[in-house]
Structure formats: structure tokens, C-alpha cells
Symmetry: C2
Subunit: 220 residues, 2 copies
DNA sequence: CCCGATACTATTGTGCACAATATTGGCCAC
DNA sequence: GTGGCCAATATTGTGCACAATAGTATCGGG
């Protein structure tokens, strides 16, 4: 009996994943009893998960009226991207200072892969590499605080993660920006790495602001 | 019979305040039953509060071993200040773009007050104005995301909030930096406002890194 | 036919009791 | 005397039941 019920897992992660995948629609009510059923977790855990998600801004909770899937507006998405921009730029700066030869090699490899996928017009794989590259920069930064904040922001932006890359010409720009970034890190040039990342994400924010209303598939 | 028990209040806020005031020592165990008694809230609420504080990094929770007051290391404090720097700089940029004449007037008034307090060597009042000025900049920025993130960071840094101002000469520097900042905002110059704030908080971070081990009283 | 009041239902909020787990102290063997 | 094992205790984790509240449908009066 294959059910959708997933037992023995942290309901917080499960719910976050469901929100991420877009299976739950904005504004949809999240009834605790239903979640207990579908997630296979106790109500206490479900409630804790909802509290946490509410605190992170992924769901809205009203007193005595339960939780609903939160709709992150385009304006908020732009704000979050701006915040992400300065934080990822901070991480890039520190990555330029701290990155090991091995980490730089991994970044270079990832850039090469991204170039290949872009040539094949495989934007989904490109997007995946993109996320991995950003993650690699953060790891190399050894800046735990920046990493934590960025992760939280990304979690809330899941609805918009596949959007900007679709804009015609954006993908090529994106690749060039990432190449600049990795070059700066490889050269251990913090200033250049920071401004490269800021430039990159400011373009993302602009693209996001310009494509209001469109829902698409893509990446930074 | 006046007891230390505070009834009918959000245990999350109460606990945060206790952590802020330093009444609780780093590493101290936070036994749920004791908190129920001292905070006068139900255990469910206490548990939720602890979860939330753990998520914010103010307490550590180990499985089946309860919660302890988290010790934020000096290194982490430096990291947080760096993150705060770029976020407050972002807010300053937006404040320069959006600040109303009235808000600018309030900032100017605050600067004047700070100068007075500094002249009287009243660092506590100076520190208070300082916090209000930073708050004012954030309000004027109308950047909800940046505000939220900064507030979270500040909450975790409570142990260090009164430190840097004590360093000889730091207070005068601080006032000059704040004056620059307000001038830039008043001139509606985003770039200058941003770099003024970054410079200011990078000095704070440096001072923090240099005064490792010292525990003091003061402000940015 | 429409409006308001009231009873009903669905859902969340909360306290309680029990189970699971870690820690502490004592005891026995060596 | 010391080390390890075992029991007792303290504390957290969790499920359950009840209370409180918001939303909804029904009924009666105008």
C-alpha cells in the first residue's frame, strides 16, 4: 500500500520541501490534522514545524485561525534578492580570501559544466550547477553567519528560483558574470569578487523586478 | 507577595529579555520546568519559545538533553557584525533614496543629542541614541527584509552591544561616522550613504576583533 | 424575501499524563 | 582502592483529551 504518507521524518523538512516544490498553492490552508495525516508526524511536531515556518516567513499564522501558505510578493522577492546580494557578496569576498586551490578547481570545473549545459540549452541542469556554484562560494567563504542568512532567504524565494534565466539573453550574461566571479576568487581579489557577486545579483534583482507577474523556469 | 513570576506574557519575549540582560550565564541549563515556574507560562509555550530561540541561535538544544544558554564567541560576533554591516549599508542606501524631510530632521536632531551626550561623557545615553539612529535609518529605508535580518542579528549580539564604544577615541570616531552617514542620507546620495555605513560598521567589527576577551559597556 | 440571532461544527490552543532518555550516585567485583 | 555496572532520579519528548474560538448553517421574525 503505497501511500503519500511519509513516516519517520522531520515534518519541518517535509513541509518545507512541499512548499519548495510548489505542490501547495499560495493562500491554501494548512490544517494541522491533515498535516498529521499526510506527514505521518504527531501534532506537536507539526505545530512546531508550522511555528518555525511562520517565523521564517514561509507560512502565515493567524490567532485561532491556523496557518496558510504565505504568498511572497514580487516586491518582497526583489527585497530578498537585494539582501541576498549583499550577503553573497560578503561571502564572495571571504571566499576570495580563503578559498583553497582545490575549491577553486571545483569552481572552474562547475563553470565549464555550466558552459556545456548552456550550449545544449539545458537550462535545468544549468540552474542546478548555478546553485552548486553559489553553494561552493559560500562553503569556501567559511562565513557561517552569511551562509545561514542566505540559506534562510533562499528558502523563502523558492517560488521565484526558476524565473530570471528565462529572460532572453539572460543566460549568457549569467555565465559571463559567474566566470568573472570565479576569476576574481581564483585571483584572491576580495574587492573584485565582492563587486562581481553584487553586480551579478543586482542583475538578477533587476530582471526579477522587470518580469513581474510572469512565472517561469530558470535560475540566476 | 511580590514574586519574580511574570504572568500573562509571551515567554519568548521574556526569555529573550533575560538573555539580553545577561541575567543568564552562558552555558547555563534552561530546565523547562523551572522556566514554567519563573515565567508563569505553560510548558508548551516554553518549549515553543526555546525552539524559536534555538533557531535564532540564542540557545543550544541537544536531543533529550535540553537547552542551554548559547555562548556567542568573539569570532561569531565579528561575523555577525560583518553581516550586519552589509545589511545596514543596504538599508542606508535605501534610506538615502526614500527618507522624508521629516525623517532627516529626526536624524539630525538625534546627531545633535549624541554630540551633547558625548560632550558630557554620558556614554549610556549616547549608546541609546545610537541605537535609535540606526533604527531610524532602517525605518526610513522601508526595506522590511533588511530590517528583519538586522533585528535578528542584533538579538544574538546582545552580549557584545556594550563593548566597542569604550575603546579610547572610539566614541569620537563613532560620532563623526554617524554625522557622515546622516549627511549622505540628507543629500539623498545612496552610494555615499552605503559606504558611510559600511565604513562605520567595519570599524566596529575591527574594534570588536581587537578587544577580544574584554567585556565592557558602550555602543557602536 | 431578506436580515439577524442562535446553535452547530470544524479547527486551533493548552494542559496533563506517560514514555523515553540521559545523568547521577551507589554498589559490587576485582 | 578503583573501575565498571546497575539502579534511581531528573528531565525531555510525545500523544491525548479537553477547552476556547472562529466560521457556518439553520431558524425565526420582519
Amino acid at each position: 500500500m503505497a501511500s503519500t504518507r511519509a513516516q519517520d521524518a522531520d515534518p519541518y523538512l517535509l513541509l518545507r520541501e512541499q512548499l519548495r516544490s510548489g505542490r501547495l498553492h499560495p493562500g491554501q490552508r494548512l490544517v494541522e490534522a491533515d498535516l498529521v495525516e499526510s506527514l505521518g508526524a504527531s501534532r506537536a511536531l507539526v505545530r512546531a514545524a508550522l511555528s518555525r515556518l511562520a517565523h521564517e516567513g514561509l507560512v502565515d499564522k493567524e490567532l485561532n485561525r491556523g496557518a496558510r501558505v504565505r504568498t511572497v510578493s514580487e516586491d518582497e522577492a526583489v527585497e530578498m534578492t537585494q539582501a541576498r546580494a549583499v550577503l553573497e557578496a560578503l561571502a564572495a569576498r571571504h571566499a576570495a580570501e580563503n578559498a583553497s586551490a582545490e575549491e577553486i578547481e571545483q569552481m572552474r570545473a562547475l563553470i565549464a559544466q555550466m558552459r556545456t549545459f548552456l550550449g545544449q540549452n539545458d537550462l535545468l541542469s544549468y540552474s542546478d550547477c548555478n546553485a552548486r556554484l553559489h553553494g561552493l562560494v559560500q562553503t569556501a567563504s567559511h562565513h557561517a553567519t552569511a551562509q545561514r542568512l542566505i540559506a534562510n532567504l533562499r528558502a523563502q524565494m523558492v517560488r521565484f528560483q526558476f524565473r530570471t534565466i528565462l529572460v532572453p539573453g539572460r543566460a549568457n550574461e549569467s555565465l559571463a558574470e559567474h566566470t568573472d566571479l570565479v576569476d576574481a576568487i581564483a585571483a584572491h581579489d576580495p574587492d573584485r569578487a565582492e563587486s562581481a557577486m553584487r553586480l551579478h545579483l543586482s542583475h538578477v534583482a533587476e530582471t526579477l523586478a522587470r518580469t513581474k507577474g510572469a512565472e517561469g523556469l530558470g535560475a540566476d
